[in-house]
Structures are given as C-alpha cells and as structure tokens.
C-alpha cells in the first residue's frame, strides 16, 4: 500500500512541472500557428506606394481610428475584375485588408478594393 502511495506521489512530483509549464508554451505556439488574420475594412486615408504604406480609417459609430499597415512584395492588391497596384488606390476608396501582426507592425497580405457605389 505504502509502495503504491510512494509511486503515485513520485508520479505527481515528476508530472507537475510538465503539466504546469507545457501549456504556456503549447498555447503560445498554438496561437502563433493559428493566429486569425487581422482584417480591417475601412476607407483609405493615405497610401504611399514608394514606402508601401497604407492608412485606413476604421472604427465604430462616431469613434474612429486610423490603422497603419505596410505591404510586402507578395501583397496581393485586387479589385473586381482587375488587378490594380497599390499606387492605384486613393483616399476615399473602401478596402478590406487582411493583415498579420509582426514585430514591425501590421503587414497586409491582401488588399481588396471594394465596389462601393456613390449613391
């Protein structure tokens, strides 16, 4: 009986560090792998094709914010039926940008110009 208790206690002592430390690393790894893309839909405030930067106006209600992102050579810029360049975007255009967060900030993987008719 005592032997069984000792074995159980030893098992707990050996496993506790694994159980308490592993989830943190595991969660971090898992979240990095499965991080949902940051998707912003808003109005273009500024675009600089030379530096590859894009600023969008987003927000909720009357509370608005500016979201800044950069593009990479692999960033796809799309529009209905066309493949515009970043330089073709202009202030006032409505776009949806799929981004990922990096140490340098948001990087857009895909920018789609939306067809929003001016009524």
């Amino acid at each position: 009986m005592q032997r069984k208790i000792r074995t159980a206690a030893l098992t707990v002592i050996l496993l506790v560090p694994l159980v308490t430390s592993a989830p943190a690393d595991w969660r971090a790894l898992n979240s990095a792998q499965a991080a949902p893309p940051y998707t912003y839909q808003g109005t273009v405030r500024a675009v600089n094709a030379r530096t590859g930067t894009l600023e969008l106006i987003t927000g909720v209600g009357m509370s608005l914010r500016v979201v800044r992102m950069t593009t990479a050579p692999t960033t796809r810029v799309v529009a209905a039926g066309t493949t515009p360049r970043l330089a073709d975007l202009k202030p006032g255009d409505v776009v949806r940008a799929e981004c990922r967060r990096t140490a340098a900030g948001l990087v857009a993987d895909r920018v789609e110009k939306l067809a929003v008719s001016a009524p």
């Binding site: 600023e55 927000g59 209600g61 009357m62 608005l64 500016v66 006032g92 409505v94």
Partner: protein, 379 residues
Amino acid sequence: MTRPRVPVALLLLAVGCQKPLKPGDPLRGLSRAEGDRFDRGKVVFDSVFTPETGLGPLFNSTGCGECHENPAGGRGDEIEVHATAFHAPVCDPLAQEGGPVIQQHTTPALKQALGIDEEPFPPSATARAMRTSPVVFGRGLLDLVPDSVLLAYADPGDQNHDGVKGRPNRFVDGRIGRFGRKAFVPTLREFTAGAFAAEMSVTNPQQPTEEDIGGKPIPAGVDPAADPEITQDALDLTDDFVRFLAPPTPLKLGKDGRRGRDLFSQVGCASCHIPTLRTGDSPVPALRNRTFAAYTDLLLHDMGADLADICLGLATPADFRTEPLLDLRGAEHFLHDGRAPTLEEAIERHGGEGSGARDRFKALSAADRAALVAFLKSL
C-alpha cells in the same frame, strides 16, 4: 352570431384606451425578460463614470444620461463640437487628429499632465460643427427599417423633378448609414458603442482602444482603468435600453392640428419627412414589422449653404439627414445645432432641397402656418 363581436369590441376598446406613451417609456409588448433588460440598461445609461471606472482622459460627458436627460433618453442642453476636413470629393474625418468628435473636457490627471482643459481642435480641420444632443426615443424602430426602403426613397438624380433628391450616406467601411445628423452610422448598436468611446472615452469590447490626443499617445499614468472599461454585458444592456425606448405617443389633434397635418403634406414637408416607416424582421416582437410615425427618410439632403458645416462620409458640408420628428413638443430649440428657437424659424432656415417646401410654407396665411406648427407641436 353576435357573441363573438363582444370580445373583439372589448379588445378594440382596450387598444383605443391604452395610456399614451410618455417620453422615456418602453415600447408596448416587451416580454418580461425584455422589460427587465430595459430596466437594467437604464441603470447603466444613468450611471456616472469616473476616471477610475473608465471616464476620459478626454470626454464630453460623465454618462449617457448627462446629455440625454429628463427623462433618460431625452434631450439635454449640451452642445458638442465636431470637426472634419473636406477636400472635395473626399472627406477626412480627422481620426488621426482626434476627429470627428472633439471632446470638451479632460480629467484632472490629463490636465495635470498636459495642461489642457479640452481636446485640441484639429489643425487640419476645414470646418467646425456644433451639435445638440438629440432624443433617442424610437431609435430601435429606425434601426430596423430595411436598407431597401431607404434606397427606394432615394432620388439622387431628381428623376421626379420635385427638387428633392435624397441619397444614403455610407460609413467608412462602405455600409449604408442612418444614425447621427449626417446619417453616418449604420446601426444603433454601433452608435451606442461609439458613443461610449467618443463621448466619455469609455472603451468597450467594440472599441477597445483609447483615442490619441492630437495624434499623440495618452501620457502614462493618466488613464487608470484597464481596457475595455465596460463589459459586453453592460454595453448590451445599454443598447437594449435605447432600443426599447418608445417614441412618445403624439398628442390628439384638434381641428387646427388636423389642418396642419394636411398642410404638412401639401407644402412638401412630407417629401423628406416621410410620415410613417415600417420595420423589418426582428427577434423582438415589439419591434418586428411595425409601422410607426417616423417623419424621416433617413437620407441625406442638401440643405443649403447657410446651414452647411462639416462633411462626414459621403455627406458634403451642406448635406444633412432628414431629422426624425419625434418628441418635437419637448424641444426648446431646433435644427442640428439648436440655432432655431422656434419651429417656424427652423422651417424658414431650410435651404437647398428644402427651399421649395420652405417657400410654400412662407406663402401660407398666418392661420395656416400656425396650424402647421400646431401639428408639429403634437409630435
């Protein structure tokens, strides 16, 4: 055969004898659970925030009920400041400089850190707008009018040659807007969440980040509450309180009022102030498929150069949304900035697409003008 008519007659009598809804009353027909949420939401609406509970560091008011008061959801006497930059055809809401809502107060900690009493006015602004606090009665009904109804009233090319156009505004993400004096905000839920952030700087799950101050981060140590500063539950309760606020029952019309109601249509006011709208589907039976007195088309109309102030979304400086005429009898000043002390003056200040109706109103006899105003005062 006559017996079934008795309960029907009693039902009709009961409906006809319903007590009029007063400002601040909930919609009729709410379930017990919805009524409970209305009551609990009112508590959040009436609560006063402090820096420790999320207020500021910039703010216009310490709680929803400070501006929408007497009773909760009603008017206040506060005037706030908005600013944007219009570089035709593009409108910049100046989010990078604190726009479009420019808060008029600061917490003591922010004042100590930066020495400012209010948010700096954006240097890039091309215009300043003053805004009164509107009543928020009946907004749950307005929220549920389908976009297709608004689009059906739109006539941007003035195809019917009546001088009245009307077009929807759009939010920054392209959706059709309807709330706010420029019809910028698409839904009531977003308007409420945005108001917590823009009016009180109370961050919430929908707007979890504080606004910069003139493009610069908030100094360390001046915003003690952790973001988000209210929970989703508190936000949902507030949304339900506003959503369930009923439009007050119009007063019974006398002979003059009935004449005024007819004149309201005859002179053309009803071209934009559409008397009734109908809601679409909703999980809340009290809001579902309801025809209600709205007196708006929720569209933008050019109101002329004299009223013009800021742009917002697709709205040019002269464009304003047709104001819903709800609880007019409780108003002491009129138009978006409160510049008109009387209803008659408010009508006379209509320009642009409203100038035809204005001129026909001015051409009425004094008695007819008084009758039309009497009708408006019944709303």
